[in-house]
Subunit: 358 residues, 2 copies
Amino acid sequence: MPYELLVEVTRNDTVESRHFGAAVVCDYRGDVVESWGNIDSLVFPRSALKPMLAIHLVESGASEQYCLGDAELSLACSSHQGEQIHQTLVESWLNRLGLTEDYLACGAVLPEHTESAHKLLASGQTGCRIHHNCSGKHAGFLTTALHLNMPLDTYHLVDHPLQQLSLAILSDLADIDLKQHPIGIDGCGLPAPTMPLLQLGRAIARFARPVDISDYRAQAIYRLHEAIANEPLYIGGHGSVVSELNEVTKGSVLAKTGAEGIITAAIPSMGLGIALKIADGSARARSVALLAILDHLGALSDKDKHKLRAHTSPRIVNSRGLAVGEIRPAASWLPKQGSCSAELSCMLHEGGPSFHDA
Amino acid sequence: MPYELLVEVTRNDTVESRHFGAAVVCDYRGDVVESWGNIDSLVFPRSALKPMLAIHLVESGASEQYCLGDAELSLACSSHQGEQIHQTLVESWLNRLGLTEDYLACGAVLPEHTESAHKLLASGQTGCRIHHNCSGKHAGFLTTALHLNMPLDTYHLVDHPLQQLSLAILSDLADIDLKQHPIGIDGCGLPAPTMPLLQLGRAIARFARPVDISDYRAQAIYRLHEAIANEPLYIGGHGSVVSELNEVTKGSVLAKTGAEGIITAAIPSMGLGIALKIADGSARARSVALLAILDHLGALSDKDKHKLRAHTSPRIVNSRGLAVGEIRPAASWLPKQGSCSAELSCMLHEGGPSFHDA
């Protein structure tokens, strides 16, 4: 069995559904600290790549030329919920570039944020490209393409020089040639590369602590850390696990989701990267499993855990408003939570105590 | 591993996600014809029980007293999508009972049918109890409670005599005492019993061909078969796999979904019942797996399969309108589709050729 039971869904204390998956914790040298399931299995990291796909925006000088601040950079790394703050910022960003929504290659959709979608419908409007959770990423690609004088109308195609540059940056971080693996098409139309889960963990760990990498690339990564930590609401939105993890830990844990059950976390102070795939693609299970691993690694303080309690074991509430179950980590795959291996204790010590303060 | 790989989700021909599950095909005598995964695992059948939970409505005489037709009976068995036809019928049914929407114990929600929900929001309205996918079932319970002079305000509670009667009917069909197993609370507030998947398969098979059961119960079941076959749109809705399977096969296959990855099918002409649980609770995988089993059993003609092609391997279309993947049965768990075992060939012969004509 290439997957382990990671998350259970209960109904009145009886397990109703089960989510299987694989996960890996890597350090910045590329070594595996801990793993569950088959980490050689190929995954589509999807939107979990976005922070790494924003590197070109900074290292090319495009973000400086167009005076992008923390909010725009966080939005470039985002799967945003399409709330008003996200819509407004994508619009003003496109204005600054002298472009319109039509330049975005992603399709027109309703905001993922239910309240925002309902408000929009109630006002007689429908979905547009700006609402797409990837519109910040697309604005980032358009910015770099403009800056580097690349064609704007084909930036989403795999042969476009900016996509080739992006694949090279990802290959550098993941220590693998992504062109040797299948590349699909993402929900927003951009290339969707594949890699073994292990390589995704390695890439996230190197994003967490970019050593053995060019100085300008490392500086770009640190700039993105800073932007996300300063503007956590722009990388997700109100109530999202990504924004709340980044906000509560003050950037000590930089989490990112990807469609089809993917979630990752970079822990800069520990030099660790976590990559996790829920085999069935479920969104509800991935954050529960990630938070269990973070707790297991000692990366969350009691205060953090209290603030994140809505995400650690979310309640299931029925149509009558009654709590009838919960989504919780399975008991089997992790040692007592809050504990960690001797090897990891060393690393925590080496990494300094800063993550305990977060 | 208690589950088998049943369904794969691909992106440009590479498998991106995997759904595991268990399934059983039983005959009306209770024997297992074929199974995959651990069929002794406890499941919450959820809404897959609804056709069996409508038996009291017919056998008590309530449906006759209140002149319920095929549409109301099909709706009583339904997880409807909250389209206008469903809303209108629940309203007129409640009117006939002299009751209002407030008597429904389910909570207020938006219709599951996206277009209907958007239309409602655009007209400045919000969700109500009638839109709940279970409102037909609740109307059925209210009808029997009225007919039998039982309290109307507590009909959703497990101790209510109508819930006790329902549990007795289910126990009879499943050949198991459901009170000896955990009972949770469903999304709509009614009791949610549990049983091993095998027992669910047996219950569906006895619903398909009710032998060794009282005559009045058997007659009630045949009446429900007829109602569903005559009014398939009321048991689901436009585009739903349940309505389309029932419609395309002209009632030869009576399918029903349940929340959290449950799907069942009764095949009256073959005296077979199928019960299937996708372990992770996914809705997208259950119908793909069920259709693969139906095809494997030879229960679908080529014409049926052509009409149901949108459900057998649904395409995944991205925000740009491009087909980027599909949801398909895994290759590993079923022999060549359309084939069936020698034992089953006998049964098909015994059951007559009627299902081939459907």
